[in-house]
Point group: C2
Chain length 348, copies 2
């Protein structure tokens, strides 16, 4: 066994360490912290090297790489989306990510991102809702009670002061699971038998379902004036959740238009359908909610900068802790040009 | 500490395990094996999902993601290129890669790829030279004696029957290192003081230098009739090694034209400069060398399919060995939709 040099070692956050780190900090604190990092990066949106994610589609799902860089750090996430997986005992979405130093090109963090993606997606939703939801929003309809649902709900509590959540899923077992997980966390939790029931009295409507098709989770008549819609599940070509008529009545806010026009709810609309880039709301260049009767819609597909923020957060928060292992991932000979010599010496 | 499920575990080949695996099989055997895997994948080139690599450029280097898929497996490599790194005690090129199952989207292999990239680049060069170099080629000029150089040389020995190598580098220390590493491996090794000396009697001219600029490693008058040029170092926009006049006299073979036109030697030429896609030589659709006086040029930039072949090779060859560790990288709750419940249970 050859002793790797320091530079060869990449801090790795396993699933177990991620969970321990989250409990060490506290789930709601993590969600608040992530929302802060994401908001900071939305504020300096123009500094980033941006590109739509690089997707490899198959009949049953998609594998994506989501890179971005702020000129100092470079980050990317690997993520899959396979709606049929749950029926085979696997996750719809799994992910891992990496942060690297732009100046040397050397990786500085490798981490699980399945849990982290759920957290960053929820933190983004809540950060956006803070700007767009009606001021007195205390009740959310949560439609789709799968893996993301508890995170979405808790983030709305931690960041927007949500008091009550109304759950609906076509699979009542998912609703039961979600209600059980949310019990005792300081929220009123109301399982509902129909989507119509779920939206009663809700100021925030979150759709977070998984199906590889154009679905209609919300019909036009379900959406009353003044609500904020947080549309999470439509995030792939051919995969949407909302009736097109809703989009015509809403002010639509997006992450990165070149990606959202392909993947989001607005793939149903003309290529010049008007949208607001949400980062401009954060910087104050564009208005968020301006009218209590306005319908606001966050057409979320998930963008690389949110993962970058999450990677920064983890990098900063594992410092001085034991929540990572050092991975011997980079060949780093003493003489950089002597890769072959290093290999030879490993024989002895 | 929660016990991760089997599906959560991703086999990881560390730098140390990679080196042990290589010695277990034998370096030349690995090069031959890799060349075979790469040749097989070139034969079924049309089955692959192909895209130019996704590059993030900075003033000092580049970070790239290189994905591809054959519909069953998906692979990608992370690789940097930072010519200034060696002067700071770091590698110009470091890399790691991942293979995943297209059907589930779950990763099935994570591996170091700094060493593996050197091996696959060399195996590709030699596999190509087998088709293009003059039949009696026994001598190679190796210009640029850095990290790749010994691998390039050994692959030409193992796959093309090279007997003698003539080394040149602007830095004589690099030549010394290369000569020392190649001693006793069954080759005649001749260090040379000038590039003109290095090319004496050589049928194969390999350029493998690193410099972020348009350099002229070979001038037009250095290239005689009948030789095969293996141009490795020009692999980035603004980074070339050959005088344009050489390209006009050569038959140029490339990996994937949309990438090579941006990154290869042919970035110096018009966008419609004639090239042959090398995979068509492997399938027999196009001719390789047809004339002993012909100058053949492999304008290599490195393509994702070669990394895919290398990942397949490693996946197949670690089976039943101890040369990997299981990495707890994927969150995989018993109930796929109960990600939050899994997190909760990890608290106890
Ligand atoms: N926008 C983003 O940034 C982002 C991030 C992560 C995940 N996602 C997407 O969010 C969606 C949900 O992810 P998940 O991990 O929770 O998936 P999941 O498979 O764990 O849960 C999806 C749930 O939706 C339910 N469902 C399906 N059709 C429904 C319908 N018509 N009405 C009500 N419920 C229905 C299913 O029964 C299931 O419980 C996925 O489509 C995923 O791609 C988006
Ligand atoms: N085509 C591919 O698939 C592929 C794969 C890997 C690396 N590369 C490229 O190959 C090049 C070499 O990689 P490396 O890891 O060996 O780099 P390295 O930095 O270890 O070695 C480069 C060597 O080139 C020498 N050099 C620089 N200018 C020279 C000149 N004018 N004449 C002679 N020698 C000169 C340097 O002194 C150094 O020893 C890099 O540019 C890299 O990007 C290409």
């Amino acid at each position: 066994m050859t002793q790797p040099s320091d530079k060869a070692l990449v801090p790795f956050v396993s699933v177990d360490n991620m969970m321990q780190l989250i409990h060490h900090i506290g789930v709601e604190e993590v969600l608040k912290g992530l929302a802060g990092y994401i908001e900071d990066d939305f504020k300096r949106w123009e500094q980033f090297d941006k590109t739509p994610r690089v997707a490899s589609h198959s009949d049953v799902g998609v594998i994506e790489l989501m890179p971005t860089s702020d000129g100092e750090a470079y980050g990317f996430k690997y993520v899959n989306g396979h709606p049929k997986n749950t029926s085979e005992g696997l996750q719809t979405v799994t992910a891992f990510g990496l942060l690297a130093d732009v100046y040397t090109g050397y990786p500085v963090l490798l981490t699980e991102m399945t849990i982290l993606t759920a957290l960053r997606t929820a933190a983004t939703s809540a950060m956006v809702a803070k700007y767009l939801a009606p001021k007195d929003a205390t009740t959310m309809a949560m439609i789709g009670n799968g893996a993301q649902s508890e995170f979405q709900t808790l983030a709305m509590k931690a960041i927007c002061g949500l008091k009550s959540v109304r759950l609906y899923d076509t699979d009542s077992k998912a609703t039961e699971k979600c209600a059980k997980n949310l019990a005792g966390l300081g929220l009123e939790v109301v399982p509902c038998a129909t989507p119509e029931d779920a939206i009663q009295g809700a100021q925030i409507l979150t759709t977070c379902t998984a199906d590889k098709q154009n679905a209609t989770i919300l019909t036009d008549n379900m959406v009353g004036v003044g609500v904020h819609i947080n549309a999470i599940g439509g995030d792939c070509p051919g995969k949407t959740e909302l009736a097109a008529a809703i989009l015509n009545r809403s002010d639509v806010f997006v992450e990165y238009p070149p990606q959202t026009r392909i993947e989001g709810e607005i793939q149903q609309m003309d290529p010049d359908f008007a949208v607001t880039e949400f980062w401009q709301v954060v910087t104050g260049q564009k208005e968020g909610r301006r009218d209590p009767r306005q319908i606001t819609l966050f057409d979320s597909v998930g963008f690389a900068i949110e993962d970058f923020s999450a990677l920064r957060y983890i990098r900063d928060h594992i410092k001085g802790t034991d929540f990572f292992d050092d991975l011997d991932m980079l060949a780093d000979p003493d003489d950089p040009r002597d890769l072959f010599g290093m290999l030879g010496r490993a024989k002895a």
